[in-house]
């Protein structure tokens, strides 16, 4: 069950050197590694360290308590426990090594081959791997033990073979993810043979997860070895922890120490391997966790100190509070990175009135999405927003509790996300996803909620709402899904609609339809629409006013016509140019600004919808899975 740990690894995020450096910053990992090194040294140096021959019998030492001559006392046969423990380390490590090597030899190359060549090789390899996992290993091991006369090496090889699927899976999936990377293609073009390609590039990507797998495999192999020895399989003359535990088990009620020492030795060894494995997994996994309490406290302290300080706020308000649907004053957004905060929005001020469409324009990483999520109170984990004030329909919300702010969602504020396919819950039907908030948030009766859902679907231009209600997200086209999301956002009749790049993921023809729909709906319901986009074309189509953002600052706010005709800022002009010039893609624009000092920092902050998490942020978060 070791694949659980390695399931979330992202091989692209791993660079051996940095992983190692980051590993050394994790105290639990360092302690575990140090303990393991000591254990390994004990095993290697057993002949030098052992105070006496592990098989030397002194009958008077039988079950003797610890003494100066025998620090841990004697076992039930009158042998020095400390010596047997030390030699047992050697046996245990040797056994684990055999199991790991055979598992690796059987599973590793097969997994790389399956991932690299795909097709039939992959299918056969995967099938065999699955078949191996369907066999209860313990039963087969008993048979192997009987047939081999309990030969220790053969048993450990058999254990290794049963662990091979773990290696196979991780090698296969890692290879698969690396195979289509450009540099592998480049290597192919350069004329490298398959074998050299694999050894050069793939092995480099595969080996960090393999190390994690090995830490766990070794732990599990040790556990199985002890289990077999507990069942009485194996030689009593070769000192081993399992045999010692068997001895201890027989005498545990009268001499519990006999069991304690080997059980503790095995337990500590398996535990440190588990900790090493999960620390490593953590370093190269792609998950974000909530910051620890210590980090959160520290961050709060810094932010308190920061409030009021910092640079001047950019932007301005144009309506009074009563006349605005939303109003943001001096908003700052920061992300915790280790013990420091990275600020990504540097104090912006803007507002939007009912019936007005305000566009927030900027390239990716400019902080426009962060601004919107701050308004919604839906910043990703680790993100923190402070503002002098945020007003929603005349209510100051920065002082409200999380729960109170959540109450505004779906009732006063509607949200339309960027990527339609990833914003619908794949496990529930469309109908369920539309009806559920109406029933639970708006306390509608089933029939009423359903009728409303069908009505909004019709309103957003879906011709067969009954069918769509029954459908699941994967059965919808992108445009259809985006209409469903718009329907979901307006179903609660909000007074403020926030749309984050609502058309970016859609085909050009669909884009125009959706924009038209948004404009219609906004006019029909008299909503304030806050539209985030990178595209001035969209702005020109739909917006009344526009706020241009760059690097966390508002560089310009004004009426659409005025800004189009007389952009005050060079950046605004460039954005307008880029949107009008079809040949210049968004990507090129991003690249052009990549040299900008702030751009790197922007890229390092979780950009809302982005799936890429900076490794350094992930590094501070929790450990991975452990299982057996």
């Amino acid at each position: 069950m070791t694949e659980a740990l390695t399931a979330d690894l992202d091989s692209r995020a791993t660079r051996p050197g940095t992983v190692w450096r980051r590993y050394l910053r994790r105290p639990a990992g360092v302690i575990a590694l140090a303990v393991f090194v000591v254990i390994a040294l004990i095993g290697v140096l057993a002949p030098l360290l052992s105070p006496s021959d592990p098989n030397f019998v002194t009958l008077s030492l039988t079950k003797a308590p610890p003494s100066a001559a025998h620090w841990l006392g004697g076992d039930s046969s009158g042998r020095d426990i400390l010596s047997r423990l030390i030699w047992g380390t050697r046996t245990t490590l040797y056994g684990a090594l055999i199991a790991v090597v055979s598992g690796l030899v059987v599973g590793g190359p097969a997994g790389v081959a399956a991932g690299y060549f795909g097709g039939k090789t992959d299918r056969i390899g995967t099938w065999i791997s699955d078949a191996l996992q369907a066999i209860p290993g313990m039963i087969i091991l008993l048979i192997v033990a009987a047939a081999s006369g309990a030969d220790f090496t053969i048993i450990m090889i058999a254990i290794g073979v049963f662990m091979a699927p773990g290696y196979f899976r991780i090698a296969r999936s890692t290879t698969l993810s690396v195979r289509n990377e450009p540099y592998i293609d480049a290597a192919k073009v350069a004329g490298l043979t398959d074998l050299r390609t694999m050894s050069r590039h793939i092995i480099r990507a595969v080996y960090p997860p393999i190390i994690i797998q090995t830490a766990l495999t070794a732990g599990i192999a040790m556990g199985m070895q002890a289990g077999l020895q507990f069942l009485g399989i194996g030689s009593a003359v070769v000192p081993s922890w399992g045999a010692m535990m068997n001895d201890g088990f027989r005498n545990m009620l009268t001499n519990p120490l006999l069991l304690l020492w080997p059980a503790a030795a095995l337990g500590v060894t398996i535990a440190v391997l588990a900790i090493i494995g999960s620390t490593l997994a953590d370093l190269i996994s792609v998950r974000t966790d909530r910051a620890t309490r210590r980090q959160r406290t520290a961050a709060t302290r810094r932010r308190t100190a920061m409030a009021g300080s910092g640079g001047p706020a950019s932007g301005r308000t144009v309506y009074d509070i009563a006349g605005s649907a939303a109003r943001i004053e001096n908003l700052r957004v920061s992300y915790a990175k280790g013990d420091t905060d990275i600020e990504v929005v540097h104090g912006i001020t803007l507002d939007v009135a009912p019936g007005e469409v305000l566009g927030i324009v900027g390239e990716s990483g400019s902080g426009k999405s962060q601004t919107v999520f701050s308004l919604l109170d839906l910043l990703p984990n680790g993100g923190n927003a402070v503002a002098d004030a945020i007003w929603i329909n005349g209510l100051e919300v920065t002082g409200l509790s999380t729960a109170a702010r959540a109450k505004l969602l779906g009732t006063q504020i509607g949200y339309i996300p960027q990527e339609p396919m990833s914003n619908l819950d794949p496990s529930y039907s469309i109908g369920f996803q539309l009806v559920e908030p109406l029933r639970t948030v708006h306390s509608m009766r089933r029939r009423e909620a359903r009728a409303r859902a069908v009505a909004v679907l019709e309103r957003v231009g879906i011709t067969d709402p009954e069918r769509v209600m029954r459908s699941y997200p994967h059965q919808l086209s992108g445009g259809m899904a985006q209409r469903v999301l718009i329907a979901g956002a307006i179903a609660g009749r909000p007074s403020l609609l926030v749309a984050d790049e609502p058309t970016t993921a859609l085909d050009v023809t669909v884009q125009a339809e959706v924009l038209e729909l948004l404009r219609e709906l906004q006019a029909e319901y008299g909503m304030a629409l806050l539209l985030v986009t990178h595209n001035f074309g969209v702005v020109a189509d739909i917006c009344d006013r526009v706020a241009v953002m760059s690097n966390g600052h508002l560089v310009e706010v004004g009426d659409v016509d005025q800004i189009f005709e007389h952009p005050a800022d060079e950046y605004t002009a460039a954005l307008i140019g880029a949107s009008l010039d079809e040949s210049e893609s968004r990507r090129e624009l991003d690249e052009r600004h990549a040299g900008h000092p702030a751009a790197d920092r922007m890229a390092a902050a979780p950009a809302g919808a982005s799936t890429e998490r900076p490794a350094s942020v992930v590094a501070e978060h929790s450990r991975g899975v452990m299982s057996r």
Binding site: M1, L142, A263
Partner: protein, 313 residues
């Protein structure tokens, strides 16, 4: 869905047949001279020849194989070479014991593991999350038989809530049966609880970071509603690990059966392996794999129910 089910059944059947073939030839390879193992080294060649002929071992191996598998498909796994009992009969009396504790342990690990996984997954980095993680390391490192003994001493000897040893057939006393399998199942389930909890926790954390969860939140859904959505989407990972655990539990049951003195397949397996009792070995292997295949099939069907993509396409 029907086509999907049929395909899974066929794939399971192929796996079962392949493992049966492998098991048959490997066991004959591992125990090349069963007659001498049964009779002992003092047997005369003529005695061995007589036994070989009686057991059909003088036939070509291929003939033996087809004879065996021909009977096996009808549920007849032959007669034990060690004690002349019917292998099928022996499995029918011993396997329910092992399956009782394994299935009960699977249920315990599903329920308890899910509870821990959801609680710690929805609060990553919190105190409870860290406690669950540390418990995982400890349970991972503790020898299973040691845990079993602690359970016996606390709950059977001191508190006398459960029997320390023995098995009661459910047909004779359902309550007695439940009592007799509770401690073994708990002892067996601890490792699996850890696996399920960790797997579900990570899946919950992963799903929690998905965009649709944020969108659901933007619709104003309550925390409870959100967790329902998250768990539903995280459950395939937990179900998969649960099915894998079932295989491990079948093996782990052998140790637990020893400590709780349960008349399951553990002791039979040990003695069959020790006495080169190939019909018994094959019976145990094939029937165990059959149950694994059934569990995997159930998993696939469950995944189909949980994941509409698998069901509708």
């Amino acid at each position: 869905m029907l086509r999907f089910t049929v395909r899974r059944v066929i794939s399971g059947a192929i796996l079962l047949v392949a493992i049966s073939i492998a098991a048959f030839f490997l066991s004959h390879w591992a125990f090349p001279n069963p007659a001498s193992a049964i009779l002992g080294d003092n047997a005369t060649p003529s005695q061995e020849a007589a036994l070989n002929s009686k057991l059909g071992l003088d036939q070509p191996i291929i003939t033996q194989f087809f004879s065996w598998i021909g009977h096996a498909v009808t549920g007849d796994f032959g007669t034990s070479w060690a004690n002349s009992r019917s292998v099928t009969g022996e499995l029918a009396s011993k396997l329910p014991v092992t399956l009782s504790i394994v299935i009960f342990a699977t249920l315990i690990s599903a329920v308890v593991g899910a509870a821990f996984g959801i609680v710690s997954g929805t609060r990553p980095g919190s105190a409870i999350d860290r406690v669950v993680k540390m418990a995982a390391v400890v349970l991972f490192a503790l020898p299973g038989f040691w845990v079993s003994l602690v359970l016996v001493i606390w709950f059977a000897i001191n508190l006398k809530w459960f029997p320390a040893v023995g098995y009661v057939q459910p047909a004779k006393s359902f309550a007695g049966w439940l009592d007799s399998i509770t401690l073994p199942a708990i002892a067996l389930s601890l490792g699996a609880i850890v696996s399920v909890a960790e797997q579900l926790r990570n899946a919950v954390v992963r799903v929690n970071g998905q965009e649709y969860v944020r969108t659901l939140r933007s619709r104003g859904l309550s925390r409870g509603r959100l967790i329902t959505h998250i768990v539903r989407n995280a459950s395939p990972a937990a179900l998969t690990v649960l099915a894998l655990q079932f295989v491990g539990l079948l093996g782990g049951a052998i140790i637990v059966e020893t400590i709780f003195n349960l008349p399951g397949i553990g002791a039979v397996t040990m003695s069959a392996a020790n006495s080169a009792d190939i019909p018994m070995i094959l019976g145990i292997t094939v029937v165990s794999v059959l149950f694994v295949v059934i569990v995997n099939l159930l998993l696939d069907l469950l995944l189909g129910i949980v994941n509409p993509k698998a069901r509708t396409s």
